[in-house]
């Protein structure tokens, strides 16, 4: 249809429209806002010091003083969950931004560089990707010792190949696009070609993917911490909370619920948000466009 010449609604208007027709998308945004907000404000909104023991009775069920009850040594589970969210978001933000940056750089070099370099990079990336994440993580932990930094490192290294591959594929497709040839024929310099013409067209899909990857990263962090290979107790990670509660699940289910429900909410939130972002940013996929 020839509605091509009609003015396009602004990004905000488009976002609102997509979200108004997409309940799960709106729910995703709300969940993400809550989780990210509580992570940022954690030090000020926790009712108790998350590491302090015996702030209440042991193994107490939820009450007005302790919204999610207390654990086996009397720590406030709600405070620990909020503080754990901060750790989870920190790991996600640090490792994903590192992975995105490295993935972009490697992908662009592979896509635009000479053939031999492309082949070499592909070989390395595929080799990296062939390790199972947890096994690779265990190996790194054995060498470096368990810590927050180790978790970030493991997640970064295992995510880079995925992003780099996507950037490479997109770049290769763009390389022969007529508008890139047109820019080259006008004598555009490499930096401008890269940052003005290639990058913005690669970034969109990448950010959407990264949003959908947040739960994966958090699950990896929780998994490693649960195994005792990640964040060290008493620092409250969701994996640590789960591990602590798991030993006493017969006495009280609340620590396990407190550790697992946020992981479920994060997964739903970021996945729904990622899908909504795709609808907002990629007009071609929108129905009836």
């Amino acid at each position: 249809m020839t509605d091509a010449a009609l003015p396009e609604p602004t990004l905000l208007a488009r976002s609102l429209r997509v979200l108004s027709g997409n309940r799960t998308g709106a729910l995703g945004f709300v969940l993400v806002a809550l989780i990210v907000g509580s992570a940022i404000l954690a030090p000020w909104i926790v009712p108790y010091d998350p590491a302090a023991i015996m702030v209440g009775p042991r193994m107490a069920p939820p009450s007005a003083e302790h919204w999610l009850g207390t654990d086996n040594i009397g720590r406030d589970i709600f405070s620990r969950v909020i503080a754990g969210g901060r750790i989870a978001m920190l790991v996600a933000a640090a490792s994903l931004s590192a992975a995105l940056t490295a993935g972009l750089a490697l992908g662009l070099v592979a896509g635009l560089g000479p053939r031999w370099l492309d082949n070499l990079l592909l070989l390395i990336l595929d080799a990296l990707r062939s390790f199972p994440v947890i096994v690779f993580g265990l190996a790194v932990v054995t060498i470096l010792g368990p810590s927050l930094f180790t978790v970030v490192l493991v997640v970064t290294i295992t995510s880079v190949p995925i992003y780099a591959r996507i950037v490479r594929t997109q770049t290769l497709a763009l390389k022969n696009a007529e508008f890139i040839l047109a820019e080259r024929a006008m004598g555009v310099g490499m930096p401008r070609l890269l940052f003005i013409h290639v990058l913005p067209n690669v970034l969109g899909p990448l950010l959407i993917l990264a949003s959908m990857d947040v739960p994966l990263v958090i699950a990896t962090e929780a998994g490693l911490s649960f195994l005792g290979m990640g964040v060290r107790p008493p620092t409250p990670s969701w994996g640590v909370i789960l591990n602590d509660g798991y030993n006493f699940i017969r006495n009280s289910p609340w620590p396990v619920i407190g550790g697992s429900v946020p992981i479920i909410l994060v997964t739903l939130g970021f996945t729904f948000m990622g899908e909504a972002l795709r609808d907002i940013f990629d007009p071609k996929l929108r129905k009836g466009g």
Partner: protein
């Protein structure tokens, strides 16, 4: 049916489109893509549908085979083919008609063929209804590839689509469409993606096969030259309406609607004396979310006057037996 009085239409037509309207629901509003289309596809004839992008010619073609986009909706009218109303046919009804009575060829033969399956396999698959042996199906596939003049047809059965040239792929698509011996073949810009000399080959082939198989063809194109080569009847579309229809001869030799005249004037092939100032049609298509009340072409028409704004023109009978949606062709205007 009031508008059914073309001079030649004594025989029952294969397809009669009666007052068809199709809307598209988009985030920016409802687009009235087709409005009140009246057309007949005569048996054993080629009907050309011409117009520029956005005129609705492809929408019309797709509605004839029930492949409209998800956001499209038939807002009124009917498409009669025998006892069926194609405009109201359900999924099950279409499964029985498509590939038996109605078939289609598309603009891009590469996307119309399955890239990971051989030509032969695809040609066997579409004969799934026929209770004949595999080797008989194979023989028929070869026979039809020969019909579309593919050299060394038997060996092409094992080829994948990407191993053939664009022209060859379109021939394969035509062979597959004809394999089911349809009554109606819909061709949506089938030569647009091809080079000029191949375009003429395909047009000549379509003409020959149409006469051999006796099917009706609806040929959608923006290329006036190929339409004149191939079609018996022509309908000119503008902004979702048929503005003029009639025999190819009447349309190309004696166009009545100002849009048809302007379109023919713009074809550089008709301008025999070299010129550096080519004719154009100034202005743009009306917004089809709110089609103008009077004549849709009014804003771009050199002859428009007050009546064109007030009154939507019906299809008047034209001088050479065609039907024209223009008040200039109203017999009452002549009398006045």
């Amino acid at each position: 049916m009031a508008t059914h009085a073309t001079a030649t239409a004594t025989e029952e037509p294969l397809v009669a489109v009666e007052g068809l309207s199709v809307d598209f629901d988009t985030p920016r509003g409802t687009i009235q893509a087709l409005r009140d289309i009246d057309l007949t596809v005569p048996k054993g004839k080629v009907l050309g549908i011409v117009g520029e992008s956005g005129c609705g010619k492809s929408t019309l073609a797709y509605s004839l085979i029930g492949l409209l986009a998800e956001n499209a909706r038939v807002a009124g009218g009917a498409i009669r083919m025998g006892e069926h109303d194609l405009a109201r046919l359900g999924a099950a009804g279409w499964r029985d008609l498509r590939g038996t009575r109605v078939a289609m060829i598309f603009q891009d033969p590469m996307t119309a063929l399955n890239p990971v399956t051989t030509i032969g396999q695809q040609m066997l698959d579409i004969q799934y209804r026929d209770r004949i042996s595999r080797s008989e199906k194979r023989a028929r596939a070869v026979e039809f590839l020969e019909q579309v003049q593919i050299p060394d047809a038997a060996s092409k059965l094992d080829a994948y689509p990407h191993q053939l040239s664009g022209g060859m792929r379109q021939r394969v698509c035509i062979a597959m469409a004809l394999l089911t011996q349809p009554d109606l073949l819909i061709a949506d810009e089938p030569t647009t993606a091809l080079d000029a000399t191949l375009e003429m080959q395909i047009v000549a082939l379509l003409r020959e096969l149409q006469q051999k198989f006796g099917c009706s063809v609806v040929f959608v194109s923006h290329h006036l030259g190929t339409v004149a080569e191939l079609c018996d009847d022509v309908a000119v579309m503008y902004a979702g309406e048929v503005v003029e229809r009639g025999s190819a001869r009447s349309l190309f030799h004696d166009p009545q609607h100002p849009y048809t005249q302007a379109l023919l004037d713009c074809d550089p092939a008709r301008i025999k004396i070299a010129t550096r100032t080519l004719p154009t049609i100034p202005g743009t298509l009306p917004d089809l979310r709110q089609p103008p009340r009077g004549c849709a072409f009014r804003a771009r028409c050199p002859h428009a006057w007050g009546r064109c704004e007030r009154e939507h023109p019906p299809l008047y009978p034209g001088a050479a037996g065609q039907r024209v949606r223009c008040h200039l062709s109203d017999p009452a205007e002549d009398a006045a």
